[in-house]
C-alpha cells in the first residue's frame, strides 16, 4: 500500500496539469484577493465580511461548487483518467497489488492534490497577501479560530467531494466525460440549492444532509458544536460510502 502511494505521489509530482492548476489557482486567487484587499473589488454582507474579515471576501469563491469542481474534476481528468487512456492502469494491476489498494492509493493522493489546489493554495495566497499588504491585524485569536475551524471542515468536504469525482472518473474512464458530467452535476445542485429546496420537503432534507449544503454550514460563524459534529460525520460518511462503492466498481471493472 505504501509503495502504491509512493508511486501515485511520483505521478502527481510529474503531472503537468497539476502544476498548471497550481499556477492558475495561485494567479486567480492571488489577483482576486489583491483586488479585494486594495478595495478595488468591494463586497458587502458576505460571511467573511460579517465577522470582520472583509479582506477574505474573494475567498467566497471557494464555497462555489462550480469553482472547486472545475479544479478537482480537471485534476481527476488528467490524473486519474490518464491511467485509463495510456493503459498504465494495466501495469498497476499487473504489479500484483489488490485492486482495492490500488484504488485507495489513487484516492489518497488525488485527495491530497485536490486539497492542495482547492484549499491550501487559495488560503495560502490570502494569508500571504493580507500579511504582506499590512493587514495582519485582522488575525485576532477569535478570527484565527474561525478560519481554522471553517477551513478544516471545508478540507473534509473537499476530501469527500474528491471521492465522488474519483468514482465518476473511474466509471467514465475519460477526462472529457468526467469534466462534463461533474459540471452538469454542479449545475443540478445549483438548481436544487436555489429553487427546489424551498419547494420540496424531501429534497430539502436530503440536500441538507449532503456535503454540498454543509459547505455553507462550515463557513457559518455561528455554527454550534452539534452542527460541527454533523458536518464532520456527513463528510466522513460520504467519503467512506463513496470510496467503498468506487472501489467495488473498480474491482469488477474490465480493463482493456
Amino acid at each position: 500500500m505504501i509503495n502504491l502511494i509512493k508511486a501515485e505521489l511520483f505521478k502527481l509530482k510529474r503531472n503537468r496539469i497539476f502544476w498548471v492548476l497550481i499556477g492558475v489557482v495561485t494567479f486567480i486567487y492571488g489577483l482576486a484577493n489583491y483586488l479585494v484587499i486594495i478595495d478595488w473589488w468591494k463586497m458587502y454582507n458576505t460571511g467573511f465580511y460579517n465577522i470582520g474579515l472583509k479582506e477574505y471576501n474573494a475567498m467566497e469563491m471557494v464555497k462555489l461548487p462550480l469553482i472547486f469542481n472545475l479544479i478537482i474534476s480537471t485534476l481527476a481528468g488528467f490524473f486519474i483518467n490518464i491511467d485509463y487512456t495510456t493503459g498504465t492502469i494495466k501495469n498497476q494491476i499487473l504489479s500484483g497489488n489488490k485492486r482495492s489498494h490500488i484504488y485507495l492509493a489513487k484516492l489518497i493522493v488525488f485527495s491530497l492534490g485536490s486539497v492542495i489546489t482547492a484549499v491550501i493554495l487559495p488560503l495560502m495566497t490570502v494569508i500571504f497577501e493580507t500579511t504582506f499588504l499590512g493587514h495582519s491585524d485582522i488575525y485576532t485569536s477569535e478570527r484565527v479560530l474561525y478560519l481554522l475551524r471553517a477551513f478544516s471542515l471545508y478540507t473534509l468536504i473537499i476530501i469527500a467531494y474528491s471521492s465522488i469525482i474519483m468514482m465518476i472518473a473511474s466509471i467514465t474512464k475519460e477526462s472529457g466525460k468526467t469534466i462534463i458530467i461533474t459540471i452538469i452535476m454542479t449545475i443540478i445542485l445549483f438548481v436544487i440549492d436555489k429553487s427546489l429546496i424551498f419547494k420540496n420537503e424531501l429534497v430539502r432534507t436530503i440536500y441538507e444532509n449532503t456535503i454540498f449544503y454543509q459547505i455553507h454550514r462550515a463557513f457559518n460563524s455561528s455554527i454550534t458544536s452539534n452542527e460541527i459534529g454533523k458536518n464532520i460525520v456527513i463528510s466522513i460518511a460520504t467519503f467512506i460510502i463513496i470510496s467503498f462503492c468506487g472501489s467495488s466498481i473498480f474491482k469488477k471493472q474490465e480493463i482493456k
Partner: protein
C-alpha cells in the same frame, strides 16, 4: 510431470452474444516457451487479459503457479511480467521514470534494476528523452523492460514484435531465448504469424475464433511442416532398400499404407525416379508434399477465406 506455471480450465468469455473465448484449456510447464498463434481477433489478447486478471472469464478458472483463488492469483501475478496489447507507458516521462514508477508500484527496493533492465533491452542511452518522442519499436522495448523489471518467473508478451524492425525482431528472439535459458524464465508469447515464433517456441497453441484448435510441440510442428517426396511403388520394402543403397539416404519413412516419405533429394527428383525404375519398381505415385508453416496454419484454420 513438470511443475505447471499456468493452467486454464474451461475458459469462456462472452461480450453480449459474442463468444470470444470458447472452452480454452491450456497448460504451460515451467521452462517452456509457449507460442500462442491466432489471427487478429482470434481471442489471443482476451485470453491474456483473463490470465493476467484484467478481465474476468464468464466461466472457467485460471491457475497461476498452482493458485486459483482470487487472493492467490493476486499474489501469483507478482511473479509475472506482462505486456498485454500495447505497452502501457506515460508519454511525458522518460524511459527511466517509467521504470522508476513501476519499481515503486512493485515495491522493488533496489534502484539498480532500472539501469540493468534498460541495458537488457537496449534503451540505456535514451537519457531524458520523453517516451512521446520514442519510435514504436522503442516503446515496445520499454514495455518489455517494464515486464522484465522485477525479474519475473513467467513472462507474458502479447505480439511483442509489432513495430520492431527485422533486426529488432531477431534481437527480441535472442533475448527471450537467453532469458529462458539463463534464468529458466517461462514465456507465453502471442503472435498472428506462426513463422515469427518458429525456432523460438517449444510448444504452440493455435487459436481461431475463440477456440483452441491445436496444441503442438515444436518437434511435432517441424515434422508436420517438413517438405518431402511422396512415393508409392509396387514394393515399398524394396523401394526403401533402393533409397538406402542407390541414393545413400536414410531420411525417409514408410507409412502404414505403403507410402514412402523421402525427406532428402527434394531437388533431385529425376535421380530418385531413375533409381527406382532401374531396379524394376513400378512407380504408382510420385509428388512433392508437405506444408510450410504458413500453409499449415492456414489449412488448420480452414483456409484463407475462413471468415
Amino acid at each position: 510431470m513438470g511443475e505447471y506455471v499456468l493452467r486454464t480450465n474451461n475458459i469462456y468469455k462472452k461480450y453480449g452474444k459474442n463468444l470470444v473465448l470458447d472452452n480454452i484449456n491450456i497448460e504451460i510447464k515451467k521452462g517452456e516457451i509457449y507460442g500462442f498463434i491466432g489471427q487478429n481477433g482470434a481471442g489471443k489478447t482476451s485470453l491474456l487479459r483473463v490470465i493476467t486478471g484484467l478481465i474476468t472469464p464468464t466461466k472457467g478458472t485460471v491457475e497461476l503457479f498452482g493458485q486459483s483463488s482470487e487472493k492467490g492469483l493476486v499474489k501469483s501475478i507478482k511473479r509475472v511480467g506482462a505486456v498485454v496489447e500495447n505497452p502501457a507507458l506515460f508519454p511525458n516521462m522518460s524511459a527511466y521514470e517509467n521504470l522508476e514508477l513501476h519499481r515503486l508500484q512493485k515495491g522493488i527496493p533496489d534502484k539498480k534494476c532500472i539501469d540493468r533492465t534498460l541495458k537488457l533491452v537496449g534503451l540505456e542511452n535514451t537519457g531524458r528523452k520523453k517516451v512521446v518522442n520514442f519510435s514504436l519499436g522503442m516503446k515496445q522495448r520499454l514495455g518489455i523492460a517494464i515486464a522484465l523489471l522485477s525479474d519475473p518467473e513467467f513472462l507474458i508478451l502479447d505480439e511483442p514484435t509489432n513495430g520492431l524492425d527485422p533486426m529488432g525482431i531477431v534481437e527480441l528472439r535472442q533475448l527471450i531465448k537467453r532469458l529462458n535459458r539463463e534464468r529458466e524464465m517461462t514465456v507465453l508469447i502471442s503472435s498472428h504469424i506462426l513463422s515469427e515464433l518458429h525456432q523460438l517456441a517449444t510448444r504452440y497453441g493455435i487459436i481461431h475464433k475463440g477456440r483452441l484448435l491445436e496444441e503442438i510441440s515444436s518437434s511435432e510442428l517441424n515434422q508436420k511442416c517438413r517438405r518431402y517426396l511422396r512415393i508409392k511403388v509396387d514394393n515399398p520394402s524394396k523401394g526403401a532398400t533402393v533409397l538406402e543403397t542407390e541414393l545413400n539416404s536414410t531420411d525417409f519413412e514408410i507409412m502404414p499404407d505403403g507410402i514412402i516419405k523421402l525427406y532428402s533429394h527434394l531437388n533431385d527428383i529425376q535421380r530418385v525416379s531413375l533409381a527406382l525404375t532401374k531396379n524394376n519398381l513400378i512407380i504408382e505415385h510420385f509428388s512433392q508434399a508437405g506444408d510450410d508453416l504458413e500453409s499449415y496454419f492456414t489449412k488448420l484454420v480452414g483456409g484463407v477465406n475462413n471468415d
